[in-house]
Symmetry: C2
Subunit: 198 residues, 2 copies
């Protein structure tokens, strides 16, 4: 792309009150499309219509900006305990529904897909996704199970949920991408239930 073709908005060269939000949105797009390594602060600044210096000023390094950008608007720390504490024979279905209904929101899906792409695509950022899953999902579930193999059970749950999100939202494999939330809750819920309690 030539300099001329880039969608710069030079009318407000630095520090507009919405610059921060524009930079975050541009970072989400850039990381999602290019992956972590190939993304540059310069390209993100161009997308946001600001100078690179402003990006560095607000967010520091590319790694700092990435960490900020992947703050996906889900609160498993708030939501998962309630799911686990409800009626026990429907925990699997409730957990699958919670994840899917979250990802049906465009902003969660966009950032979640970006996180999966970048984290899996690069050795540098893989620990970011592994850490997120371990801390926010597996750790919270294992703590409630209170059995010897709680960590393995919770990790198996994570494996099915990660595989479901990957095939539905990233690989977009036909039948699983086309299925309704209800249908997937019915099919995948019992798997999660069995990993947790059987």
């Amino acid at each position: 792309m030539t300099e001329q073709a880039a969608p710069r908005r030079r009318g407000r060269p630095r520090g507009g009150s919405d610059s921060r939000e524009r930079i975050i949105a541009a970072a989400v797009d850039e990381f999602g499309e290019q992956g972590y390594e190939a993304s540059t602060i310069r390209a993100i600044a161009t997308r946001a219509g600001v100078d690179s210096a402003l990006v560095h000023h607000y967010f520091g390094t590319k790694a700092d900006l990435f960490a900020e950008a992947v703050g996906i608007p889900m609160r498993p720390d708030v939501d998962v305990p309630g799911i686990l504490d409800g009626p026990r024979d429907e925990v699997g279905e409730r957990l699958v529904r919670y994840v899917l209904e979250s990802f049906e929101q465009p902003e969660v899906r966009r950032r979640g897909v970006m996180l999966m792409r970048t984290a899996i695509g690069s050795r540098l950022t893989t620990p970011l996704l592994a850490g997120f899953l371990s801390r926010e999902l597996i750790g919270r579930i294992a703590k409630r199970l209170a059995v010897d193999d709680a960590e393995l059970r919770a990790t198996l749950v994570a494996s099915q949920i990660a595989g479901m999100l990957l095939t539905r939202y990233v690989l977009k494999l036909g039948p699983i991408a086309a299925a309704t939330v209800d249908e997937l809750v019915t099919r995948v819920g019992p798997t999660v239930q069995r990993y947790l309690f059987d």
Copy 2:
């Protein structure tokens, strides 16, 4: 890395009988470490100790070389039909065991992990993994099931297998990375069995 430090073997500058194999091995390493976008023919040539021109001569573009490099040494076209045709109540366990025992071979694991990383990390190469799964796994399974929802059932199987490989070999989440093949066959086999037949 400086020019000097690169492990070039200039004694045989072009067309040695093993150059082709060295280039493939170098491509597997480079794609696996850098991802598709950040990998270059030049870096692959340097790793292989040959000139870039020789890489282009043998393999054409980066995309062509990638396609060649991901030819992972598994033959689902040969193996999966036999798994599906054996005793029906153990199909799930046999399928999980087949995938895990394949990935326990270092050469399969190395290339399989590279394929997952690059395909998920980049929009350009995502269709490569989706196509592989659809053609080699989902298509073959669905054809044997001969029920209305065979494609969805086979895709759910793919979702669990992809999630298992991702969490064990790429994210390396503790308990699933440490589990034995037998333990995972026991835990995950029934999931696959249920998706196929229940």
